[in-house]
């Protein structure tokens, strides 16, 4: 069982590090630039850029947007893997040996995702802030001290907890929704493709809806 969790950690988690990192860098850069662009009034201090980048990254962009991206990558991966096993009778083969196929296939994935998503989200937060900093440096808009000061002002550790709670919930949703579509696919490889598309669409919708509920519950 734990051996399976570890191999799933690698498939679901480690292989997503690069894409998450890359997207986070650019995302942070864009948030910082956009904020700086809109800060035309001299009434607001320059460090607001750092503050807003930090807030939007921690509250929404890292947990939610990254989970949406992961729903695409991890979700389709899981749905097509399990779906292929279904249509090629591999799941039947497991059952016939007396293995509980649902537990055997899905549980390690859920555990792995719930363990690794928080790590991915933390990486994403860090890289997003770095991306913001890089963008501001390249365009020479705001200097490092001011940006860092903005990030550190009004920093609330609860926001991290909040993001991680979201990450864990989304991990669970992505894996269970996509496993469902894969496990119950009927037919051939064409249907596996459809199931994997369905898995992405449904998990994205479910993420956005539960994001709304979680935000309401946790912040108010």
């Amino acid at each position: 069982m734990w051996r399976r969790v570890i191999s799933e950690l690698e498939i679901i988690g480690v292989s997503s590090l690069f894409i998450v990192g890359l997207m986070s860098l650019f995302m942070g850069g864009v948030i910082a630039l956009n904020t700086a662009y809109q800060l035309t009034t001299p009434l607001l201090p320059d460090y607001t850029v750092g503050y807003i980048t930090q807030q939007s990254t921690f509250l929404e962009f890292s947990p939610t947007v990254m989970s949406l991206i992961l729903a695409g990558k991890v979700g389709s991966n899981i749905a097509s893997e399990i779906g292929t096993m279904r249509v090629t009778e591999q799941i039947d083969a497991l059952e016939i040996m007396g293995v509980n196929s649902l537990n055997y296939l899905v549980l390690p994935k859920i555990i792995a995702a719930m363990l690794f998503f928080p790590i991915l989200i933390i990486c994403s937060m860090a890289l997003s802030l770095i991306g913001g900093w890089l963008a501001l440096q390249v365009s020479g808009l705001i200097n490092t001290e001011v940006y860092v000061m903005g990030i550190r002002s009004f920093f609330d550790p609860f926001h991290i907890t909040y993001a991680l709670i979201k990450a864990v919930c989304f991990a669970f949703l992505i894996v269970s929704v996509s496993s469902y579509y894969g496990y119950y696919v009927r037919g051939g490889s064409l249907d596996v493709g459809k199931a994997s598309t369905q898995a992405i669409v449904t998990s994205s919708v479910v993420i956005l809806m539960s994001n709304f509920i979680l935000t309401k519950l946790l912040l108010f």
């Binding site: 591999q90 039947d92 040996m97 007396g98």
Partner: protein
């Protein structure tokens, strides 16, 4: 011994199996034969519980499998080895892991013991030394044989083979038939083989069940299948014009 009592099975509105009752005997190779699409695979899957039957019972050595819960079934299934029509090898595992999979799941054997057993099973299907290949790197016939090795790795009491030698050359097909027969005798297994290969019927058919339009049309041994006058069976046995001619010639010389 596996008893099948009055099995019906439908998918949606389409009834595939009609009131099938028969006995698969212990220590014998029991064959299920019939044309494509007549419900042979469905029957086998009903027997092992991959499809739930609509009505009827499947009884393994006196134990009613149909009325068992999941855990009780799991115990019976650990004594079942099954080769699927499409082999159904786990494509993320290499040959050795595939064959040893049931052993790692259900026994406390050390990896050295498992390796030994795997090598033994692979040797029996003529695949010595192919341990590290992935299923995708194997030919269709090799996949079939790996599937058989996996099915016998736990020394099952009941062995199901869905078309073990379709897609194999005649020589390997005979080898596989021989292997199935040998292990059936050796371990006194109840073996059920689905096939449309007449060679296998002649070679190993001790108890032959002919399925036609989802019904048990005929049952007997390999001798009587040659001589029976049942038109659906002679149509199946002597399918080609050439064979029909031979049959006619034999009959002419007799009279």
């Amino acid at each position: 011994m596996i008893e099948v009592q009055n099995i019906d099975k439908s998918f949606a509105d389409l009834q595939i199996l009609h009131d099938i009752s028969t006995v698969f005997e212990k220590g014998k190779v029991n064959l299920i034969i019939g044309q494509s699409g007549q419900g042979k695979s469905v029957l086998a899957k009903c027997m092992v519980g991959l499809h739930e039957v609509d009505t009827g019972h499947v009884i393994y050595d006196g134990k009613d499998f149909t009325s068992m819960n999941r855990n009780e079934r799991s115990l019976i299934r650990q004594q079942i080895g099954m080769l699927f029509q499409g082999s159904a090898l786990f494509d993320s595992m290499n040959v050795e892991e595939n064959v040893g999979f049931p052993l790692t799941m259900f026994t406390n054997k050390s990896s050295a013991e498992i390796k030994k057993r795997v090598d033994f099973c692979l040797e029996r299907v003529n695949l010595t030394g192919k341990n590290k290949l992935l299923p995708s790197e194997c030919s269709g016939g090799m996949q079939k044989r790996i599937g058989i090795a996996r099915a016998i790795s736990m020394n099952p009491k009941y062995l199901f083979c869905d078309e073990p030698n379709s897609g194999l050359d005649p020589k390997t097909a005979i080898l596989i038939d021989g292997l199935i027969q040998d292990i059936t005798k050796e371990y006194n297994m109840t073996t059920v083989v689905i096939t449309h290969d007449m060679n296998s019927v002649i070679e190993i058919g001790e108890n032959v069940i002919f399925i036609y339009e989802g019904k048990k049309w005929w049952q007997g041994d390999k001798k009587s299948i040659i001589t029976t006058e049942n038109p659906e069976i002679t149509d199946f046995v002597y399918a080609s014009e050439f064979m029909k001619e031979i049959r006619q010639n034999i009959r002419n010389t007799r009279t």
